[in-house]
């Protein structure tokens, strides 16, 4: 299988090696066409966003207004903060020029004069790697004022790296724009959508790093070639980050629609000690988990995973073997969302705290069966009731872990004792009849 994003070419991150392998030819081709023709090519390829929502990239580009006096912007989302996701990192390290070339093509297509690549602050090393590649691209005239001389045509654009400082929510597109503007990373209410009112109130498109890095190949080889790779409804290769209980964790580039079991056993080397799999989270920590006994035949693309009761998310696959304590796993996930909730919406701010407290109580062995219903209830009250998808991301794991691993959670809690006294507080006093006796 041919790899698009992470081909086996040594030192591809160096600009000379990238050029020797046909680099920066796609942008020249693209600039000979009209922006609309470029958008059309990407639209027909069926390329879908790799950041979680799997929205059609060409369609997103076509939302950008044509007649406007305002500057337009492209934001490239490299915030990659979802636990279990570590794919964009590989592009910064091994193929940064594909990203840079993709940005110059995308900027032309939507007629943006400036692009901001948002990289999470924790990625010190990878920020430096991309900065080095960007400096080289500027020096050779592939980015910046000298572009018309180097690439033909009259278009030019600038690319800037904006470094975050540790906030998961900044991966949400409107929060990302606020963060670039120098504000708190609060998500914005939509509509208005970014194509109308984005960065500094100007028309803006936000694409994931992996999405944009596919664009040069689509231009070079044509939409038809790309659309035939993998699953037709979600074509192309995907970067799968496999972590947890596997022998060979890492990032694997494979056609969409690859079997989840192949990904785990054939590519990631199976489970250490040949243990059984209890649980797999297929797309980053916010996606609904799958049971180990329900993995057969599950394909890794947006539509197939939806049918299997989960979602592709960012392709971050987390594998947990039979000895994993899922109550504590869920408590860990809940802790993450509580910490990273921005606090703007009450259901998320308060609900994530409640869910964590309840899960910690269960993990300590103090939970009762009504706590499981309470958790599900709180999750349902967060889902769909917040400005951004972080609320859903916090609610789904709780809702689906409990639903799909009910027996394990039931085992971790004590049965609820109905206490025949009016006041529960009274029942806890020393003078009250012990619970055990009431039960009799």
């Amino acid at each position: 299988m041919e790899k698009i994003l992470l081909p086996d070419i040594k030192n591809l991150h160096q600009i000379d090696v990238y050029i020797q392998n046909g680099g920066y030819e796609a942008v020249k081709k693209a600039y000979k066409r009209t922006p609309d023709e470029v958008i059309d090519e990407v639209k027909r390829s069926g390329l879908r966003g790799r950041g979680g929502a799997a929205f059609l990239t060409g369609l997103k580009w076509s939302f950008m207004p044509k007649n406007t006096d305002k500057p337009k912007y492209l934001c490239v989302n490299g915030d990659e903060s979802e636990p279990g996701s570590f794919k964009d990192r590989q592009i910064f390290e091994f193929n940064p020029h594909a990203l840079i070339e993709g940005i110059t093509i995308a900027c032309y297509a939507i007629q943006a004069k400036a692009a901001y690549v948002y990289i999470r602050g924790e990625y010190h090393n990878w920020i430096q790697m991309l900065q080095k590649a960007l400096d080289d691209a500027y020096a050779r005239g592939f980015v910046g004022e000298k572009m018309p001389e180097t690439l033909g045509g009259s278009f030019s654009c600038n690319i800037y790296i904006h470094k975050g400082a540790g906030a998961y929510v900044c991966g949400e597109e409107s929060s990302l724009m606020n963060s670039i503007e120098g504000k708190r990373g609060y998500p914005r209410v939509k509509p208005p959508f970014p194509a109308q009112f984005g960065l500094w109130g100007c028309p803006t498109t936000i694409n994931n790093v992996e999405t944009i890095s596919n664009v040069p190949t689509i231009i070079n080889k044509g939409w038809e070639w790309f659309s035939k790779i993998g699953e037709p409804r979600h074509p192309g290769t995907l970067l799968f980050g496999v972590s947890g209980h596997v022998n060979k964790p890492g990032v694997y580039e494979l056609p969409s629609g690859v079997l989840l079991t192949d990904l785990i056993y054939k590519y990631a080397g199976g489970v250490p000690g040949n243990k059984k799999i209890k649980c797999v989270i297929p797309g980053g920590s916010s996606m609904p988990p799958l049971r180990g006994d329900q993995l057969e035949g599950v394909k890794m693309d947006a539509e197939s995973l939806k049918a299997a009761g989960s979602a592709i998310g960012t392709g971050g696959v987390m594998v947990m073997d039979e000895d994993t304590d899922l109550v504590r796993v869920l408590a860990r996930i809940a802790k993450f969302y509580k910490h990273e909730s921005c606090g703007q919406c009450t259901p998320c701010r308060e609900g994530t705290g409640w869910m964590l407290k309840t899960l910690n109580r269960i993990a300590r062995g103090e939970g009762t069966s009504s706590d499981l219903d309470l958790l599900t209830d709180v999750a349902k009250n967060i889902e769909g009731n917040t400005i951004c998808a972080l609320g859903d991301a916090a609610a789904w794991p709780v809702k689906f872990f409990i639903q799909r691993f009910r027996e394990e959670f039931e085992k971790a809690v004590k049965p609820e004792v109905s206490i025949p006294v009016a006041n529960k507080i009274h029942s806890m006093r020393n003078t009250a009849v012990p619970l055990a006796e009431i039960k009799k």
């Binding site: 800037y160 400082a165 906030a167 971050g316 860990r332």
Partner: protein, 154 residues
Amino acid sequence: MLTEEEKHEIEEEFKLYPYKSAAAIEALKVVQKHRRWVSDESIKDIAQLLGITPDELDSVATFYNLIYRKPVGRNVIHICNSVSCWVMGYESVLKHLIDHLGITYGQTSSDGRFTLLPVQCLGTCDHAPALMINGDLYRDLTPDIINSILEKYQ
């Protein structure tokens, strides 16, 4: 007062944006690089340079995990406490750090050498568990290699 060097470094960041205020995060990082943390006084000075109010800047400073609004030690350890690291043995690494340094989350060792903080995923789940000291990443950790890593930071 910001030093000339700090001012210069912050003003370099202005070149990336149409508005100065967009350099807020980087400006905070510049000051933090020189002084290890961002004091109330620094907030006022940076805000003036950015043309925003100190309150606006403080709302940014307190939002992000990697900006320190309290003094920290000479070296800051960020240990990833997210799910993949937890599954792969985060707790034994954390226990070793706590026992060895005699501090827990949010504390600084009495000699001022280390501050210990959690971090919400370092994006290196395939090499879990992981931690970061002053921006240097250490992966595939086991408790027995922690001490030799800490030795590098005095």
